[in-house]
C-alpha cells in the first residue's frame, strides 16, 4: 500500500526527516510514536502533500505509484486521508457542504454518480450516530468554534464518510476525554479492513489498547529508530524514549 524509502524532508533549510523508511501493507495498522518535535506531523503532512515542506531525497510509493508527484487533491481522491492534528477553521463554509463536496470529488474520481443532499443525509446518519455528532453540528461552519474534542470527532466523521484506503491520523486522540476516546476508537475500528491501511500518530499507549496496531515504530530525530509490536508501546509507556534513543545512538 505505502512504501517510504530514505525520505529526507526539509523546512526552511532545516532538515527534519533524515532518511525515513517505512512499509505499510493493506490491512495493517501502524502506530508511530516519538518525542515532541521528532517529525511525526511532518511525515503526515508530506504524505498529504503540503507544499511548504520540501522533499530533498527519497521516494514514496502509494499502490505502486509515485505519491509525491500528485497534487494534494489527487491523493485525496485516490483514497489518502489525513486527520489533522490541528483541524483548520473555515468561517462561513458549512460543515456538511464541505463533506458533501469532498465525497462527491472522491466519487467523481472513482467514476461513481454524485450524491444529492437527500442521499448524503441518508449516508451519513449512521456514521454521525457512531461519532455521537448531532445534526446541528453539520450546519455550523467547518471547525469554527468547535471544541478540541469536537474537531477530532469531526475529522473521524469525515474519514468514515470518505472511506479512505490509507488513513493517517495525527494525534487524533490528544485532548479527548475517556468517552470521546472510545468513540473515536470505535469509529476507527469500524473502518478496519483487509484492503485498507492506517497510520496512527500518537503519544499514548491507551489509544493502542483500543485500536490494536500490527506494528509500532519509534520516530526520533527524523528517523525510525525502533520497530516492534504492541508490546513496544507498553514498554515506551512505562520507560519513556530515552532508552530507545540511547540504543539507537550506540548502534
Amino acid at each position: 500500500m505505502l512504501t517510504i524509502e530514505n525520505l529526507h524532508v526539509a523546512v526552511e533549510e532545516r532538515e527534519i526527516l533524515k532518511g525515513l523508511d517505512l512499509s505499510v501493507n493493506a490491512g495493517e495498522i501502524h502506530a508511530i510514536m516519538g518525542p515532541n518535535g521528532s517529525g511525526k506531523s511532518t511525515l503526515a503532512q508530506v504524505l498529504a502533500g503540503k507544499d511548504s515542506y520540501s522533499v530533498t531525497q527519497g521516494r514514496v510509493l502509494y499502490r505502486g505509484e509515485d505519491l509525491l508527484d500528485m497534487e494534494p487533491e489527487e491523493r485525496a481522491r485516490r483514497g489518502v486521508f489525513l486527520a489533522f492534528q490541528y483541524p483548520t477553521e473555515i468561517p462561513g463554509v458549512n460543515n456538511a457542504y464541505l463533506l458533501k463536496a469532498a465525497l462527491n470529488a472522491r466519487r467523481e474520481a472513482d467514476g461513481e454518480p454524485q450524491v444529492d443532499a437527500f442521499e448524503f443525509m441518508r449516508l451519513i446518519r449512521s456514521r454521525m450516530e457512531l461519532m455521537n455528532i448531532s445534526k446541528e453540528f453539520l450546519n455550523r461552519s467547518v471547525n469554527e468554534g468547535f471544541s478540541g474534542g469536537e474537531k477530532k470527532r469531526n475529522e473521524i466523521l469525515q474519514m468514515l464518510v470518505l472511506e479512505p484506503s490509507l488513513a493517517v491520523l495525527d494525534e487524533t486522540d490528544s485532548g479527548l476525554d475517556v468517552d470521546a476516546l472510545k468513540i473515536v476508537a470505535a469509529g476507527v475500528n469500524s473502518l478496519r479492513s483487509d484492503d485498507r491501511a492506517m497510520v496512527l500518530v500518537t503519544h499514548y499507549e491507551r489509544l493502542l489498547e483500543l485500536i490494536v496496531p500490527d506494528h509500532v515504530h519509534v520516530l526520533s530525530d527524523g528517523r525510525i529508530v525502533k520497530s516492534g509490536d504492541r508490546e513496544l508501546a507498553r514498554e515506551l509507556d512505562a520507560r519513556g524514549y530515552d532508552w530507545v534513543q540511547q540504543e539507537a545512538a550506540s548502534a
Binding site: P91, V93, V142
Partner: protein
C-alpha cells in the same frame, strides 16, 4: 509562501464570458451634447412637453456643475462631447407588440447571457423588462401584472401612459441637482423601468430587468422609478452585462424608490458590466445614484447588490428613513479583481423616530483590485431611538490588492444607537490545504470559501438569482489553477 502567491495570482485570472457584440443595425444620435440633442432625444421618444422641459432644466443645471472629486479611484478623463447619448436598435423603430416581433438576434443575445426570455420568464414566474442599450425591448407578463393593478413598463411608456405618476414622483428622491451624474442622467436618460404597486397589493411575481450596453461610444443612462403605495410589497431585480471593448464606457443610472406607509420594496442588483481586461484596459465606468425613501411610517426598503463587474464602480444605494419605524437595509458583495476599482457603500439617513438600519458589506479584493467601503450613517435630532448596525468584512485574495473602509457616522440624537464592526481576512494556505486534502480542487476551495464569506448577502437575494450570483462570483474569480 511564494508558491501560494503565484497560485492565488493564477487563480484570480479569468475570462469575461459575456463579451460578445451583437451585430444588428443601430440608430445613433451623433456624439455630443447640447440643448438640441436633448430636444431630439425627447422628440424621438415622443415625450410630452413637461418631460422635455424637465430634461432641459437638468441640463442647464448640469452645465454649472463639476465632476465629483474622485473617491479613492483612478479614472481616465471623460469627454462628454465624445459620447453618443442615444442608440436604439434600428429594427425597434416600431416597438414590438410581443416577443415574436423582437429581433431574433436580440433574443439570441439574451440567450447567451443566460436569459432565455421565454423559458426563464415562464419557468421562474419572472416578468422581465429587457433594456438593450437605450430602448426597452420586451416586457413579459404585463397582463398578469395588470390584473393585480401593478404597472410595470419601460420608462418611456410610463411617461406616455401614466404621466401623472411620473410627474408626481420623478426626481422626488433624487433631484436633478443631487450630483453631477444625476443631473446628466436627468437631462439625457434614454429608458429604464417604471413600477407602480397600488395600495395593499402584493406584487404577484418578482420583477426583473436586464441591461446591456452594446454599441461602442455610447453611454447608458437609464432611469428607474419604483413607487410602492401604502401597504404594498414588491421585489425587483436588475442584471447588467456589457461586451468587451477597449475603450471605457460610461454608465450613469439613477434609481429612485418610494415606499409609502407600510410598504416594502426589495431591490436586488446583480451587476456584471465588463470590467476591463487583465491589464486594466477598457471596461465600464459605473457611476450610479440609487436612493430610496421610506416616506411613510412602518415602511421598508432593502437593497441587495452583487457587484462583480465594471472597471470603476461608484455607487451608494441609500435609504432616507423619513417615516416612523421605517427600516432600511443594505446587503452588498463587491468584487474588485485585476485592475478593477470599487468604491461602494450606502447612506442611511435617519429622520423618523425608531427608524432602524442594517448594513452588511462584503468586499472581495483580488489581483490588483482596490475595494473601498464608504458608508454614511446620519441620525437627525428627530430620530429618537434610531438604531443602526453596520458590519463590514473584507476578504483579500493575494497581496497586491487592497481593502479600505471609510465609515462616516454623524449622530445628533443621544437616544440613538450606532454600531460598527469591521474585519479583514485572507484565505489562508492552511484553509486551502485542508480543503484540498479532502479532495477539492484549489479553485473549488476558493469558491467555497468566498461563497461562505458572502452567504449572509446571498441569502437576501431571491432564490433563483442567488444561484446565478454565486455562479457569477465563481466565474469572476475563476482562473487557470496549477
Amino acid at each position: 509562501m511564494a508558491t501560494e502567491q503565484k497560485e492565488i495570482t493564477d487563480l484570480v485570472k479569468r475570462k469575461y464570458e459575456h463579451g460578445f457584440v451583437t451585430d444588428i443595425e443601430q440608430e445613433f444620435v451623433p456624439p455630443g451634447l447640447d440643448e438640441g440633442v436633448i430636444r431630439l432625444i425627447s422628440q424621438k421618444k415622443g415625450e410630452p412637453e413637461f418631460m422635455t422641459e424637465w430634461r432641459l432644466k437638468a441640463y442647464r443645471h448640469w452645465l454649472t456643475m463639476k465632476e465629483p472629486d474622485w473617491a479613492h479611484v483612478r479614472i481616465n478623463p471623460i469627454d462628454y462631447q465624445a459620447i453618443s447619448y442615444y442608440a436604439a436598435p434600428k429594427s425597434q423603430e416600431d416597438a414590438p407588440k410581443s416577443l415574436d416581433e423582437v429581433d431574433p438576434k436580440l433574443l439570441e443575445t439574451y440567450d447567451k447571457l443566460g436569459i432565455p426570455l421565454h423559458e426563464r420568464a415562464r419557468l421562474a414566474g419572472v416578468a422581465v423588462d429587457a433594456v438593450f442599450d437605450s430602448v426597452s425591448v420586451a416586457t413579459t407578463f404585463k397582463e398578469k401584472l395588470a390584473e393585480a393593478g401593478v404597472i410595470f413598463c419601460s420608462f418611456s411608456d410610463a411617461v406616455k401612459s401614466h404621466p401623472e405618476l411620473v410627474r408626481k414622483y420623478l426626481g422626488s428622491v433624487v433631484p436633478h441637482r443631487d450630483n453631477f451624474f444625476a443631473a446628466l442622467n436627468s437631462a439625457v436618460f434614454s429608458d429604464g423601468s417604471f413600477v407602480y404597486v397600488p395600495k395593499g397589493v402584493r406584487c404577484p411575481m418578482e420583477l426583473s430587468t436586464y441591461f446591456r450596453i452594446n454599441a461602442a461610444n455610447t453611454g447608458q443612462f437609464e432611469r428607474t422609478l419604483i413607487v410602492a403605495d401604502e401597504g404594498s410589497h414588491v421585489s425587483y431585480l436588475e442584471g447588467c452585462t456589457a461586451p468587451m471593448r477597449d475603450e471605457n464606457q460610461l454608465h450613469a443610472a439613477v434609481v429612485e424608490l418610494v415606499a409609502l406607509e407600510g410598504a416594502e420594496i426589495k431591490y436586488s442588483t446583480v451587476q456584471n458590466w465588463y470590467p476591463g481586461d487583465e491589464q486594466g484596459v477598457g471596461g465600464i465606468y459605473n457611476f450610479v445614484t440609487k436612493r430610496g425613501e421610506c416616506r411613510g411610517a412602518n415602511s421598508k426598503i432593502s437593497w441587495t447588490q452583487v457587484e462583480t463587474g465594471s472597471a470603476i464602480t461608484w455607487k451608494y444605494p441609500s435609504c432616507v428613513l423619513r417615516g416612523e419605524n421605517s427600516v432600511g437595509e443594505f446587503y452588498s458583495v463587491a468584487v474588485a479583481n485585476n485592475y478593477q476599482q470599487a468604491d461602494t457603500g450606502t447612506k442611511m439617513i435617519h429622520i423618523g423616530a425608531n427608524t432602524r438600519s442594517t448594513i452588511i458589506s462584503k468586499g472581495i479584493s483580488a489581483g490588483h483590485g482596490q475595494n473601498a467601503y464608504r458608508g454614511l450613517v446620519r441620525v437627525l435630532p428627530t430620530a429618537r431611538s434610531a438604531r443602526n448596525y453596520t458590519q463590514c468584512d473584507s476578504l483579500l485574495l493575494g497581496d497586491k490588492c487592497g481593502a479600505h473602509t471609510f465609515p462616516y457616522i454623524e449622530s445628533r440624537e443621544r437616544s440613538a444607537r450606532v454600531e460598527h464592526e469591521a474585519t479583514t481576512s485572507k484565505i489562508s494556505e492552511d484553509q486551502l490545504f485542508y480543503c484540498r486534502q479532502r479532495g477539492l480542487s484549489e479553485e473549488d476551495a476558493v469558491n467555497m470559501i468566498v461563497n461562505g464569506f458572502c452567504r449572509e448577502v446571498f441569502k437576501e437575494l431571491p432564490m433563483e438569482f442567488a444561484v446565478e450570483a454565486q455562479n457569477l462570483l465563481n466565474v469572476t474569480l475563476e482562473g487557470a489553477v496549477g
